[in-house]
C-alpha cells in the first residue's frame, strides 16, 4: 500500500503541534482586522489577545485558502510519490474546500498514478478536528486511503456540533447565519443554542434564558444524541470562557461519566465569526 497524507485546513481548530503529531498537514485560512490591511495567518495571534480585541469592538474579516496555495502544497506531496486525502472545512461556510477540490482536479491530470481524494467535512472547528482525529485513527489502524476516505464521508454525518454563543451579532455580521434564523438574540439574557446541519450550515435551533441554561442545554443534547455516552470522544472549543468549559465538563462527567478528550480555543478564523463567549461541544452521535 502506498503511503498517503491526510491533509486539512486550519478551520479544524486543532493546534499545529497536535496536527503534526497526528501526521496531518494543513494550510491556514487568513484574517485581518477591518481597520488595517495587515493580514494574519490563522493562529498567528494568541487567541486570548484576539478575543480581547474583539471584546473591545475590533471586527475581523476572514479569507479562504485559494486554489493556488493548495496546488502548490498538494504538488509537493504528490511529487514525493505520496497519495493525498484532503478533508476540508464545510463548503456551507467557506470556499476553502472548493479551492482544495479544484487544486486536486487539476493535479489529477499531472499525477495520473497518484490517488487523490477530497472529502467535504461539512464540519467546522473542532467538529472538523474530531473528524480528522477519527480518520487518523483509522489510518493508524491500517485503513487504506479508499477506506479512510469512505470512513470520513460516512462519519461526517454523525459529527454533532452543538454550541452556544454569547451574542449572535458576530454570526449575523459575518453572514454565517441566515437573518431569518437569527431570531431574537438580543433580548436580555436570551441565549441561542445552535448546531450544524447535514449541509454544513449553522442553524439556530432554540433559545434558552441565561448562559447557565445554554451550557447545560449542550449537555442535554449530548445525552440525547451521543452514541457512546461514557466512552465516546468529546471535544470542546471555546471563545475565551474557561469557567463555562469547566461547568460543561462537570455536567458531562456527573451525568454521563463522559470524559472530554480535548479542550481548545476556537481559533481566530472561526472565532472571528462566532465571537468571544462561544462554547461548542463536539461528539459522535446517532445523527447531527
Amino acid at each position: 500500500m502506498n503511503e498517503y497524507i491526510i491533509y486539512a485546513d486550519s478551520a479544524c481548530d486543532i493546534k499545529p503541534e497536535i496536527l503534526k503529531e497526528w501526521g496531518v498537514d494543513f494550510l491556514p485560512l487568513t484574517f485581518r482586522f477591518s481597520d488595517s490591511e495587515k493580514e494574519y495567518v490563522d493562529g498567528e495571534i494568541d487567541p486570548r489577545e484576539f478575543y480581547a480585541k474583539m471584546r473591545e469592538g475590533a471586527v475581523a474579516k476572514t479569507a479562504a485558502v485559494n486554489a493556488e496555495r493548495f496546488t502548490e502544497e498538494f504538488d509537493k506531496i504528490l511529487a514525493a510519490g505520496k497519495d493525498l486525502l484532503y478533508i476540508g472545512f464545510s463548503s456551507g461556510l467557506s470556499t476553502t474546500y472548493n479551492s482544495g477540490r479544484l487544486a486536486a482536479e487539476q493535479l489529477r491530470e499531472k499525477y495520473p498514478d497518484r490517488k487523490i481524494f477530497t472529502v467535504d467535512s461539512l464540519s467546522a472547528s473542532a467538529g472538523f478536528g474530531l473528524l480528522l482525529y477519527l480518520t487518523v485513527g483509522m489510518k493508524n489502524e491500517g485503513a487504506t486511503i479508499e477506506e479512510a476516505a469512505a470512513f470520513a464521508e460516512e462519519t461526517r454525518f454523525h459529527l454533532c456540533h452543538w454550541f452556544t454563543v454569547d451574542d449572535l451579532v458576530y454570526l449575523k455580521r459575518g453572514g454565517r447565519i441566515s437573518p431569518t434564523l437569527a431570531f431574537v438574540g438580543n433580548a436580555l439574557g436570551i441565549k441561542p443554542v445552535l448546531h450544524m446541519d447535514d449541509e454544513g450550515h449553522l442553524i439556530n435551533m432554540f433559545k434558552v434564558r441565561g448562559r447557565r441554561s445554554s451550557v447545560t442545554a449542550l449537555a442535554d443534547k449530548y445525552g440525547e444524541l451521543a452514541l457512546d455516552k461514557k466512552g465516546g470522544t468529546v471535544f470542546i472549543c471555546h471563545g475565551d470562557c474557561d469557567s463555562d468549559v469547566e461547568v460543561l465538563k462537570q455536567v458531562l462527567a456527573d451525568r454521563y461519566g463522559a470524559e472530554v478528550k480535548l479542550v481548545t480555543y476556537t481559533g481566530t478564523v472561526i472565532g472571528a465569526h462566532s465571537g468571544p463567549g462561544t462554547l461548542a461541544l463536539f461528539f459522535v452521535g446517532e445523527h447531527r
Binding site: 431570531f183 431574537v184 436580555l188 439574557g189 432554540f206 434564558r209 441565561g210 448562559r211 441554561s213
Partner: protein, 600 residues
C-alpha cells in the same frame, strides 16, 4: 377597624325619592326620565317591586357612595405598601355601568340591569372590579324577562349573581367580596316573607353584609394579620349602602350624576336641556377632557410621567383620570378652573381634542376624538398585548415583539374595555396577552372571552418580570398557539420574583418587623426582610433570590424612584459577592417598586 359610615340600618325616611309602582301603573311611568324628588313621604311597605327606573336610581346612589369612599377602600391593603387600588377599580367599574344606563329611557328592570351590567363588564378593572361586574351580570341574568321584581325574584337573581361571581374566580377564596356577597344574599333571602318589601329586603341584606365584612378577618388569615377587613367586600358594602340610601330617600342620587363620565353615544348632543341660565350658580364645575399630543420640543416624551400632572390636577379638581399612551396623554378632571388645566397642559404638548362641559347643564356629548386606530395590512399569525408600567418596560416589551402595550400596573389597572381596544388594533389570528399583574389577569380574561375576531390567550404573568421571561422564552414561529402558551407558562414556572417597596405603616408580617418608612423585600408573596436602607434592602433581597435552589440569573428592573447610582451600587455589590451570577439590568421606570427582580 373599618366603619362603613352611616346608614347601616334603615334610618327614618325624611323624603322618598322613589315612586311606588304597581304593575298596572307601569305604562304611566314609561316617560319617567329621572326627576327630582317630590319630597313625598311614603311608607316603606309601599315598595313592593324593584323597577328598572328605581334600579337605575339605586345604581347611581351606589356609585356615588363608593366614589366618595374609594380612598378608604384603597387603604384596606393587606401589605403595608402604597399600592392599594381596590376602591378605584370598583369605582371605575361601576361608573362604566352608570355611563351605560345614563341615557337609557326604560323602566324595564331586566333591560336596565342588562345594560348596566354589560357596561360594568366592559369597564371592569382589578380583580374586585371583575368580580363585581360578574356579580351584577349574574344578577341581571336572574332578572331576565322581568320588567320588575318582588323580593323573591330579587333574592333569586342575587343568588345567581353570587353563583356567577364565584364561577368567575379560578380558586374562590373565602373571607373576600365573594363571602360577603354570598352571606348577605343568603341571609336576606332567608328572611323573605310575604309581607317583605324591597326595602326590608335591602335592610336585611345590607345589615348582614356589614356583619359579614367584619367577619372577613376571621376567615382569611392575611386580613387578620394586617388588621384590615377585605377591601373588595368593603367596596361592595358601600355600593349596597348607596342603594339603601336611595331606597330610604336619604340621598338624592341625581345630584351627582354629572360626575359620571359622559357616555360615548353620539347624536345625543341635541338633547340639551338648558338648566343653566343667567342667574344660575356655578355649582358643579366643568367636566374637562383633553387629548394631548406631547411635543418633542416641549418635553422629553419618553420620560414624561403623568404623576406630577395628576398631582397638579388634584390641586384644582377631582375625579381625575390621566394616562399616557405612547406620545398621547388623555386627561379627565372635574374642575372650576378649566383654563388652568389648558394652560398647564400646553407646557408640554398641544391639544388633539378638547372637551369642556358645564356639569350643571344636563346634556351629553360625544367624547373627544380618539386617535384613529392604525389599519393593519395583513393578518399575521400571532399578536402580543402587554400591560406595562414605565417607559423602559414598555420599550422592552415592544422590542420583544409586543404589538400593543397598555399602560397600567398595581395602582392603575386597565379595564376589560382597554384590552378590547388593544385587541382591536391588532390584526392577528391569535393574540397573547400578558397582564403582568395578578390584579389585571381577570379583566384580561374577561376581555378574552368577549373578543371574537381572534383567539386570545391570556398568559397569567403576575409581574412585568415574569411576563418578560415568558415572552422571551417562547418561540413565536410555531404553529400551535396552545403549545406556545405552554412553553411560556413553563418558563414562568422557573421564575421567582422579588419586589422592593416602601412600607407605609408599622406592621409585623411573616415574622418580619416592619417600621413605617422602611424598605421591605417581598419574595413571591412573602415579606422576607425589612431594612431602613433601600439599597441594603435591594441587595439583601437580590442575594436571597440567588440563594434559592437552581437560580443563576437575575434580571433587575429599576423603578422610577431609583437613581443610576443606586443601580451601580447594587451591581458592584453583586459582582463582588455573587460573581457566578448572571445579572441583567433594565431601566424599567415602573412606579411603586424601586426594584423588581426575577430570578431564574
Amino acid at each position: 377597624m373599618f366603619k362603613p359610615g352611616k346608614g347601616e340600618t334603615p334610618a327614618p325616611k325624611k323624603k322618598i325619592t322613589v315612586k311606588t309602582v304597581s304593575s298596572d301603573k307601569k305604562s304611566a311611568d314609561k316617560k319617567s326620565k329621572p326627576r327630582k324628588s317630590q319630597g313625598k313621604k311614603k311608607d316603606s311597605r309601599d315598595i313592593k317591586y324593584l323597577t328598572g327606573w328605581l334600579m337605575s336610581k339605586m345604581a347611581k346612589g351606589g356609585a356615588k357612595l363608593l366614589r366618595s369612599n374609594a380612598d378608604k377602600v384603597n387603604k384596606l391593603n393587606v401589605f403595608p405598601v402604597p399600592d392599594g387600588d381596590t376602591g378605584d377599580n370598583m369605582r371605575m367599574t361601576i361608573e362604566s355601568g352608570i355611563a351605560a344606563i345614563e341615557n337609557l329611557d326604560t323602566d324595564d328592570l331586566a333591560e336596565v340591569m342588562r345594560v348596566f351590567s354589560h357596561g360594568m363588564l366592559l369597564g371592569a378593572r382589578g380583580n374586585s372590579g371583575v368580580i363585581l361586574s360578574q356579580f351584577f351580570a349574574g344578577t341581571a341574568k336572574g332578572f331576565e324577562g322581568a320588567v320588575e321584581a318582588d323580593p323573591y325574584t330579587l333574592g333569586r337573581a342575587l343568588q345567581m349573581g353570587v353563583k356567577q361571581a364565584y364561577a368567575s374566580v379560578m380558586t374562590p377564596t373565602e373571607g373576600t367580596i365573594l363571602t360577603v356577597a354570598r352571606e348577605a344574599v343568603d341571609y336576606a333571602t332567608s328572611k323573605i316573607t310575604p309581607s317583605s318589601t324591597i326595602r326590608t329586603f335591602f335592610a336585611d341584606f345590607v345589615g348582614e353584609m356589614h356583619e359579614s365584612l367584619e367577619r372577613t378577618p376571621e376567615a382569611l388569615a392575611v386580613l387578620k394579620e394586617a388588621g384590615v377587613v377585605d377591601s373588595g367586600g368593603a367596596g361592595l358594602l358601600y355600593i349596597m349602602e348607596g342603594f339603601n340610601k336611595v331606597l330610604n330617600g336619604e340621598e338624592d342620587a341625581e345630584d351627582d350624576t354629572a360626575s359620571v363620565p359622559a357616555p360615548t353615544h353620539a347624536a345625543k348632543a341635541a338633547a340639551v336641556s338648558s338648566s343653566f341660565g343667567p342667574d344660575s350658580k356655578m355649582e358643579y364645575g366643568y367636566c374637562t377632557e383633553l387629548l394631548i399630543q406631547l411635543m418633542r420640543d416641549k418635553t422629553d416624551i419618553d420620560a414624561f410621567d403623568v404623576e406630577p400632572l395628576k398631582e397638579f390636577l388634584s390641586g384644582i379638581g377631582n375625579s381625575i383620570v390621566a394616562f399616557k399612551t405612547d406620545s398621547i396623554v388623555k386627561i379627565h378632571v372635574h374642575t372650576f378652573e378649566p383654563e388652568k388645566v389648558l394652560a398647564h397642559c400646553r407646557e408640554f404638548g398641544e391639544f388633539l381634542a378638547v372637551k369642556i362641559e358645564n356639569m350643571s347643564v344636563q346634556h351629553t356629548e360625544t367624547e373627544g376624538a380618539e386617535p384613529a386606530p392604525e389599519i393593519p395590512v395583513e393578518k399575521k399569525k400571532y399578536g402580543v398585548v402587554a400591560v406595562t408600567n414605565g417607559p423602559g418596560i414598555r420599550d422592552m416589551f415592544i422590542e420583544m415583539g409586543a404589538d400593543q402595550t397598555i399602560e397600567g400596573g398595581q395602582t392603575s389597572n386597565p379595564s376589560t374595555n382597554d384590552f378590547l381596544e388593544a385587541f382591536g388594533k391588532i390584526h392577528a389570528e391569535c393574540i397573547f396577552v400578558f397582564p403582568n399583574n395578578g390584579n389585571i389577569f381577570m379583566a384580561a380574561s374577561q376581555a378574552a372571552k368577549f373578543y371574537t375576531d381572534a383567539k386570545v390567550v391570556v398568559i397569567p404573568s403576575k409581574d412585568v418580570g415574569t411576563g418578560y421571561v415568558a415572552l422571551t422564552a417562547a418561540d413565536l414561529s410555531g404553529d400551535d398557539p396552545d403549545a406556545i402558551a405552554e412553553e411560556m407558562k413553563a418558563a414562568m414556572q422557573n421564575v421567582t420574583s422579588g419586589y422592593i417597596s416602601p412600607a407605609v405603616r408599622d406592621a409585623e408580617m411573616d415574622g418580619v418587623k416592619i417600621r413605617k418608612g422602611d424598605t421591605i423585600g417581598i419574595m413571591g408573596k412573602k415579606i422576607v426582610l425589612s431594612d431602613p436602607d433601600m439599597r441594603c434592602a435591594a441587595y439583601r433581597l437580590a442575594v436571597k433570590l440567588l440563594e434559592e435552589p437552581d437560580k443563576f440569573m437575575l434580571t433587575v428592573f429599576r423603578g422610577a424612584g431609583t437613581t443610576e447610582e443606586d443601580q451601580e451600587d447594587l451591581r458592584k455589590c453583586l459582582e463582588e459577592n455573587c460573581p457566578s451570577a448572571e445579572v441583567y439590568f433594565v431601566d424599567g421606570g415602573q412606579e411603586i417598586y424601586p426594584y423588581i427582580f426575577t430570578a431564574e
